[in-house]
């Protein structure tokens, strides 16, 4: 398969899972002292393949030591809380 075709196939898989996800009626909820939680009506059926793989890939990479340190400004002990302005090319802080 040529690269353009491959890309189109992946995009189609993505479009399909967006459609599939509609049945899950996903809701972002907040619990108690701010625990965020995703509520889904149809969770028991399991997530669509694309959505699950994407979530796990992103989670796995962005919480790995290399992933965090190369992607973000990793500040495990901020020591202070400040409202600041974005710098040019500002990376997300990871804690």
């Amino acid at each position: 398969m040529d690269p353009a075709k491959k890309l189109e196939v992946i995009k189609q898989v993505e479009r399909d899972s967006v459609e599939e996800m509609k049945a899950y009626q996903v809701q972002q909820t907040k619990m108690g002292d701010n625990e965020d939680r995703e509520q889904m009506a149809a969770q028991a059926k399991g997530l669509p393949f694309w959505r699950l793989m994407k979530e796990l890939t992103m989670l796995g990479y962005f919480t790995s030591e290399d992933g965090i340190k190369s992607s973000f400004e990793y500040v495990p002990i901020p020591g202070k809380l400040e409202m600041i302005q974005m710098k040019p090319n500002q990376k997300s802080f990871a804690y």
Binding site: T29, M31, Q39, M83
Partner: protein, 571 residues
């Protein structure tokens, strides 16, 4: 005979405190500082401040499941899992294995427990608000349940006393609905939050303030003396804080009590029964079971403080039967175990915020905004009673936004390393009315592995709570709309039950009349005055504010009274 006497002497203290959590810690501190020798009994394992906070300094990559709950943990922690991810590898060791400590649900009850030193103070939300004057009068004015035997003024000095010791950061506002306490400097609001606060006052006349939270922004000498330092803005409080940045029994009250050298703590020891002396008509001690060896032992004291958590304190009363109290110690009124209250939650709204692209935050604020009750307050009148407060705030989205976005590949990955747009959302905490049919009791036949009758829950939300929830969602949507935010979406979880607020209370209420209440105005069991119950069980109504600071204030007040009465030889 002599041997027995020796054993009795060795097991005799001035006071026994059952529980080491929020109120047990405070009771131990207040009693030891007044010169009493205190035995604290904790049913769970020992957790040592700082050295046992195993996960506190770990990076995200050091957790095998990266914050997700494994299938095995979800099964073991079946009740905890109703809340969310409490049983994950970061904090799971500070919650209780529900499979090993089962309970029975006649109607569902979401019981979240923490059996170890410090109890739930280890991972409480730390939000600390005083109840207001009207909270104490609401029952009698509306003809609900019974009247509080105390008023705001009775607790006021004790709020001050515990607030200073605990160390609460917040902003004094001068609002009658949310009485000001004594605060360390407030944490800042972000730019969209400041905009939201001003918009709410201008458009809806609803006040918004920064959360009043038990994290040290400017430690005072009495905090540093106990080894506590300023909050480091990591917002990983629930793992235990190696800096003592937030208040818990472990960082605050227990170290303070230990300084007096009058505190003895027993771990892995389940208080099974209060021993009642028919001759003196007083409690003379507590019978305990070692949770590992099953060994039974008795301890004796002049006074007993029950701080086992509302449900377990009530269970201990119910399990303490004698010929004087065939239905459980202090249960002449049949109110022990009844009137379970909590705060209902899981209802609110979220939105995306346009603009503020250049604003960002350094550090993780372990705190949120607070929107105090506005319903049925002043001239506002709704078709339900009481009200609710909201907690929430704005945050700039991180890589997690990518999970639900379209996109993949190198550009997508690069984009995810940068902050996204702001989102804002909040959820409510609603007052629950006392209802005697919302109750817990001990099963007649089923016993746990220590031979203690199992707790059965039989409680549900009533019509008032359900009506309030609809309004909680609608008002949250209304406020985010009024602020001009986009993609506003409300939520109202229908899978929640009493207990999930982890503010369970009311099972041994105070009152003026022994026929309708369990405790008097100083938290003493009406018919057995040397037993004090000063955890959430004592609550007569629930208000809508987070209750821990009120429990602590009541505890300090009761401890002061207990020592004065002891000196007068009245106990």
């Amino acid at each position: 005979m002599n041997l027995n006497l020796k054993a009795t002497n060795a097991n005799t203290y001035d006071a026994i405190v059952v529980g080491s959590g929020m109120t047990g810690g405070m009771a131990a501190k207040e009693l030891t500082e007044r010169g009493l020798r205190v035995l604290m009994i904790e049913r769970g394992r020992e957790v040592k401040h700082i050295e046992d906070y195993d996960t506190a300094m770990k990076g995200p990559w050091e957790f095998e499941h990266r914050g997700k709950v494994s299938i095995q943990s979800a099964e073991e922690y079946w009740a905890n899992s109703r809340f969310g991810t409490l049983a994950n590898e970061e904090t799971g060791e500070f919650f209780t294995d529900d499979k090993k400590n089962p309970y029975i649900e006649k109607r569902p009850f979401d019981w979240i427990r923490a059996y170890h030193t410090g109890g739930k103070s280890m991972h409480w939300g730390r939000q600390s608000y005083r109840m207001n004057k009207k909270d104490f009068e609401a029952n009698v004015k509306e003809g609900i349940a019974i009247d509080w035997p105390i008023r705001y003024e009775d607790l006021e000095p004790w709020y001050t006393h515990v607030e200073k010791f605990v160390g609460i950061s917040g902003q004094a506002e001068g609002w009658e609905v949310l009485p000001d306490g004594h605060y360390l400097p407030a944490m800042p609001m972000s730019a969209p939050e400041l905009y939201f606060r001003d918009a709410m006052m201008k458009k809806l006349k609803r006040p918004v303030t920064i959360g009043r939270i038990a994290n040290l922004t400017k430690p005072q000498p009495w905090h540093t003396e106990l080894g506590r330092a300023s909050c480091q803005y990591r917002s990983k409080c629930a793992r235990g804080c190696p800096y003592g940045g937030y208040y818990s029994s472990l960082s605050g009250s227990i170290p303070a009590a230990r300084k007096t050298e009058k505190l003895t703590v027993l771990h892995d020891t389940i208080a099974n029964e209060i021993i009642y002396d028919e001759k003196t008509q007083k409690a003379k001690g507590v019978r305990v079971i070692n949770q590992h060896t099953m060994a039974v032992e008795e301890f004796f004291a002049k006074i007993v403080f029950l701080n086992a958590g509302s449900m377990n304190s009530a269970a201990l009363l119910l399990n303490s039967k004698s010929s004087r109290f065939p239905n459980g110690l202090g249960n002449d009124s049949d109110q022990v175990g009844r009137n379970i209250m909590d705060h209902h939650l899981g209802v609110g709204a979220n939105a995306t915020v346009e603009g503020f692209e250049n604003d960002y935050v350094f550090g993780q604020r372990p705190n949120a905004l607070y929107i105090p009750r506005f319903r049925n307050w002043g001239t506002d009148k709704k078709d339900f009673l009481r009200g609710y407060g909201y907690q929430g705030g704005a945050s700039k989205s991180d890589w997690k936004r990518g999970i639900t976005m379209n996109g993949f590949g190198a550009d997508f990955k690069e984009d995810m390393t940068r902050p996204g747009t702001w989102t804002m959302g909040f959820g409510g905490f609603g007052e629950i009315l006392p209802d005697p049919s919302n109750r817990m009791f001990l099963d007649k036949d089923k016993k746990d592995k220590w031979g203690i009758p199992m707790i059965v829950f039989d409680a549900a939300f009533g019509e008032n709570e359900l009506a309030m929830r609809k309004d909680m969602m609608a008002s949250a949507v209304e406020m985010l709309d009024a602020a001009g935010f986009k993609n506003v979406s409300g939520f109202n979880r229908t899978d929640t039950h009493p207990g999930l607020g982890i503010h369970d209370m009311g099972t041994a209420r105070m009152g003026k009349d022994p026929k309708t209440s369990v405790l008097n105005k100083f938290n003493q069991v009406h018919a057995c005055k040397n037993v004090f119950v000063t955890d959430g069980a004592a609550m007569v109504s629930s208000s809508c504010v987070n209750p821990s600071i009120t429990y602590m204030a009541m505890t300090a007040r009761a401890a002061d009274h207990a020592v004065k009465e002891l000196k007068k030889q009245n106990l």
